[in-house]
Structures are given as structure tokens and as C-alpha cells.
Amino acid sequence: MIFLRQVWFYVLYRVIMRWFLKVFVGVEFDRDLPSISSDEAYIVIANHNSHMDTMVILCSLPFSMQGRVYPVAAADYFAKSKIKKFLYSLFVNAVYVERSPKRNHVHEFIAIMAKKIDSGSCLLIYPEGSRGEPGVLGEFKSGAARVLLNSRHLNYVPVYLHETWKPLPKGDGLLIPYLSRVLVGPMKEIDKSKDHRDIALSMREDVLSLKPLDN
């Protein structure tokens, strides 16, 4: 079953979607995200400006990681109805969180996510929270850092998505071809002695350091 999932996401993203994004939309892919053994896990951290972002990152996964990376999606939008939830689980492999839960629920969610990571599943988190202002890297929320602090894995991979909002911006469903890039940074470890806010800050710096110089 797990193997079937892996093949399904591989065919969907590496065989079909990657070529579509490359040839039609004009995404320039960087190296693949790191491939790790099944008892390890990492969180993918990326900036978020477009619905294309998740597709682009899932297309950068090698075969061994397909089906193992779960994009964390806002439940109020992506799991509004049962059909929607089913479709997003089937095609995007999403897990759902409440965007603004009650105070005592926060710990619960972080515990659930940490458990997921401990069992060897990777997460894709956009620490900005939502698709913010185009081309501007917003403040990072500390959720990703807190999940890592609560689990036994410490790794995260920063990814910068350069101008992916231009082909498919917020507020417009029409896809227009335009060159954009994805930049994958090296895998990093968090400093466990630090506060989660400081970790979020250093994560933001890591993502920002991948941004190409505007020529």
C-alpha cells in the first residue's frame, strides 16, 4: 500500500507535473530535496506566494521521498467539505490544521505533528501562514520550530520559491507562463537550546539567503 502511494505520487509529480511545469509554465528546477532513510525525517520550510508552490516542491522530491512529505494545509480552506478534503489528500497528500485554534488546542496540534514526524513522515510547512504579499518574505510563525523542538528529529530544509506568484498569483485562477525558479538549500539542524522564536528567525534567514540576486 505504501509502495503504491509512492508510485502514484511519483507518476503524478515526477512524470507528469514536472514536465508540465518545466515546459509550459517555465519553472527552473534546482537539485532535488535530500533523500533520507526511513527512520529520519525533516521539515521543508518555504516561502509561500502561489498555489503552485506545493506542486513545485512535490515535483522536487526524489522517488524515495514521494508520498512521505505531507504539506500542512489550513483546515478552514482545504478541508471545507469532505470531497475537498478527500481530493486534497489524494492529489496533494495534505494533512490539515486549524489556522487559528483555541489556546489549548495549539499544543495538541503540535503534539500531533511531532508524532507524525517521529514516525518518519516529513512535513511541508509555509511558516508565513498564508500566501502573503507577492515577492515579500513575511514574518515567520514559530509553528515549524515548535514541532521540531517537540520531536526527536531536528532537521529542516529551506526552500526559496523565486517569483512563482507571477504565473499564478493570489486572487487569479488563470495560469500564465512566466519563468520562475525553485532554490533548494542544504539540510540544516536546529539549535535545541534556543527559543522557538529565535529558531523561526534563523529559519527565515536561511530561506532568504537562497534568494537570487536580482539582475
Partner: protein, 337 residues
């Protein structure tokens, strides 16, 4: 005496081979001869520079090697795109136009986040398949009028429907000029295939297309080689400091030589053919400098990293953009009018 007969034997063997090949695909026998010639030229350069690398590994050799590898890929793609079926040819050139147009728009950085202006961009993209459909449809007047006249009012029309005026001058001008540069001009290459056939022209339209593409590309190669060996005086120091007057002369002479050798591919007299070689060479340099001036203005070196060693699609198409138009109408005027 013995040697001559051996040569004729090889020639006859090749001829039989080419006749078999010409029945398989779209290429005529003279075109296959020319393709074989191109194959030999690339093979020669491969051995030449790899051999040179063994003796003396000079600076810039790596880039030349990468370029030669790209040449092999381009030669293979040429055979794939033009040799199988005219519809594949149309699709291939349509894709090249699309990639070049997307590159151009992305580098100019004019996408407007306003929803209405994005629709104008979308209409410009839609024009690409329509233009190539018109090539296939064979209505000559429609094909030459669609972008220059049709898009002239269709692009503003879309903006006006949405009541948009912000950045309209920039958007209309860039989209229109970009379409002319990358779609209108490139679509004239496959359009040569759909012209009425000329009695007594053995090479067919495939030969004409090969003549155009081979001479523009060889012009670049000769320019590069002559410029590297004798180049001293810059042709246009402000736009492209690497281009030298000596290099351009080398390119001109090389194109003339190639036009003389490949004269059997086009339905023209030798004198007309030589003039055509000169014409293509001059337009090639001119197109090259035009794209260079765009890049200079945008302060970039290459349009993208699509072809290793060459840069983007538009970097390789640069000399073809004007040459294809000049060639097409020159030929059309001499043969059909």
C-alpha cells in the same frame, strides 16, 4: 584514375542510401546530402577541438566543447522536428516560438498583477497556436496579417473590455513587439514548407529551410572563429564588445562560401544565391546585435539557461529572427511574384 572511380562508388552508395532514407521521411535526396555535410562539419569540429584539448587546454575550451555538444543535440532535434511529418515541424517551431516569447516576457519583467492585464498577456500567448494554425491552413494573406494587423487591435481590445488603462502603453508595445520578434518571424520558417511546390526544384522546401538555418548558424560559427583569431576592431563597442569587424567579414565570407556550396538547395541562380548568402549574413549580424542591445538594456548576459553553453532559446534564435523574414520575402519575391 582508380581514385576517381572509388570516389564515384562511395558517392553512388551514399546516393542509394539517401534515396532509401528520403522514402522514409520528409527529407529529399539533396537535403540529405546537405544534412550529411552538416554532420561532417560538426564531426570535424568535435575532433578538432577535442584534439586541441589534448595538446593544449586553453581558456574557454570548456565552453566551446559544451557548445559542440549542444550542436549535436540541435542537429538531432532538427532531424526529429523536420524529418518526420509537417505537423511535427509546425508543433516544434510553435514550441520554440513559445519558449522564446516566454523568455522575452520574463526578462522584460512586465507581468502585471492586475487581473485584467494578465488577460491581455493570455491573449498574446493564445496568438501563438493561432499563428501556427494559419501556417498549416495555407491562407497566405491571413498568415501574414494576423499578428501585424490582427493583434494590433486585439490586444488593446481585451484591455478595453476590462476598462484598464494603467501600464497600457508598456504592455501593448512589449507584447506586440515580442510577438513580432519571436512568433511572426519564426513562423516564417515552417511556412516555407507550405508554399506551392516549384517545378524543377529537386531539393523541395525542405532544402530551402535547411539552406536558411544552416547558413545563419554557420555565419555565427565563422564569425566566432574569425573574431577569435583575427579580431581587433570592435564592430559595435557600445552594444556587443565581443563582436569584431574582422569576425563579421569572416562570417560574411563563410556565408558566401556556404551559399555557393549549397546553391543546389534553393531554386535560384548562383548569383542570386550568393546575394542571398550575403543578405542572410548581414541580417543575422543585425538580429544578433538587436537581441544583444535588449540584453544590454536589461543588464543581463543570457536570456535564460535553457541550452547549456548557449544561454536561452532567444540567444540562439537571435540571428534567425530577422534572417528568416528577409529570406522568406526575398525568395517569395523572386520565385512567386
Amino acid at each position: 584514375m582508380n581514385k576517381v572511380s572509388e570516389c564515384t562508388l562511395i558517392r553512388n552508395d551514399l546516393l542509394i542510401l539517401f534515396e532509401k532514407f528520403s522514402q522514409l521521411g520528409q527529407f529529399s535526396v539533396p537535403t540529405l546530402f546537405a544534412l550529411f555535410f552538416a554532420f561532417c562539419v560538426v564531426l570535424f569540429f568535435t575532433f578538432f577541438f577535442w584534439g586541441w584539448g589534448l595538446i593544449n587546454n586553453f581558456k574557454g575550451l570548456q565552453q566551446i566543447k559544451q557548445r559542440i555538444i549542444s550542436w549535436w543535440i540541435i542537429l538531432g532535434l532538427y532531424i526529429l522536428v523536420l524529418g518526420i511529418h509537417p505537423l511535427i515541424t509546425l508543433f516544434g517551431f510553435g514550441l520554440i516560438s513559445f519558449l522564446a516569447f516566454r523568455e522575452f516576457l520574463s526578462q522584460v519583467k512586465i507581468i502585471n498583477s492586475e487581473v485584467g492585464m494578465r488577460r491581455v498577456h493570455f491573449w498574446a500567448y493564445i496568438a501563438i497556436p493561432i499563428q501556427y494554425f494559419l501556417v498549416w491552413y495555407g491562407e497566405f494573406l491571413l498568415f501574414i496579417l494576423f499578428i501585424p494587423v490582427g493583434l494590433l487591435f486585439l490586444l488593446p481590445f481585451r484591455a478595453i473590455i476590462s476598462g484598464l488603462y494603467e501600464k497600457s502603453i508598456v504592455t501593448f508595445s512589449i507584447l506586440y513587439w515580442g510577438l513580432m520578434l519571436t512568433v511572426f518571424s519564426v513562423s516564417h520558417i515552417p511556412a516555407l514548407l507550405f508554399l506551392p511546390s516549384i517545378p524543377g526544384h529537386e531539393a523541395g522546401h525542405q532544402g530551402t529551410i535547411f539552406f536558411l538555418i544552416f547558413i545563419t548558424q554557420m555565419n555565427d560559427v565563422f564569425q566566432f572563429l574569425a573574431g577569435k583569431t583575427f579580431g581587433k576592431h570592435s564592430l559595435s563597442p557600445m552594444i556587443s564588445p565581443n563582436k569584431t569587424i574582422e569576425g563579421c567579414f569572416g562570417g560574411l565570407l563563410g556565408s558566401l562560401g556556404m551559399a555557393y556550396i549549397l546553391a543546389f538547395l534553393v531554386p535560384l541562380t548562383t548569383l542570386q544565391c550568393l546575394f542571398l548568402g550575403l543578405f542572410i549574413s548581414v541580417l543575422g549580424i543585425f538580429g544578433d546585435l538587436t537581441i544583444s542591445s535588449l540584453k544590454r538594456d536589461m543588464k543581463i548576459k543570457d536570456m535564460s539557461n535553457f541550452i547549456p553553453g548557449h544561454g536561452g532559446v532567444l540567444d540562439r534564435l537571435d540571428s534567425l529572427t530577422f534572417a528568416s523574414l528577409g529570406f522568406f520575402y526575398f525568395l517569395y519575391y523572386l520565385v512567386y511574384v
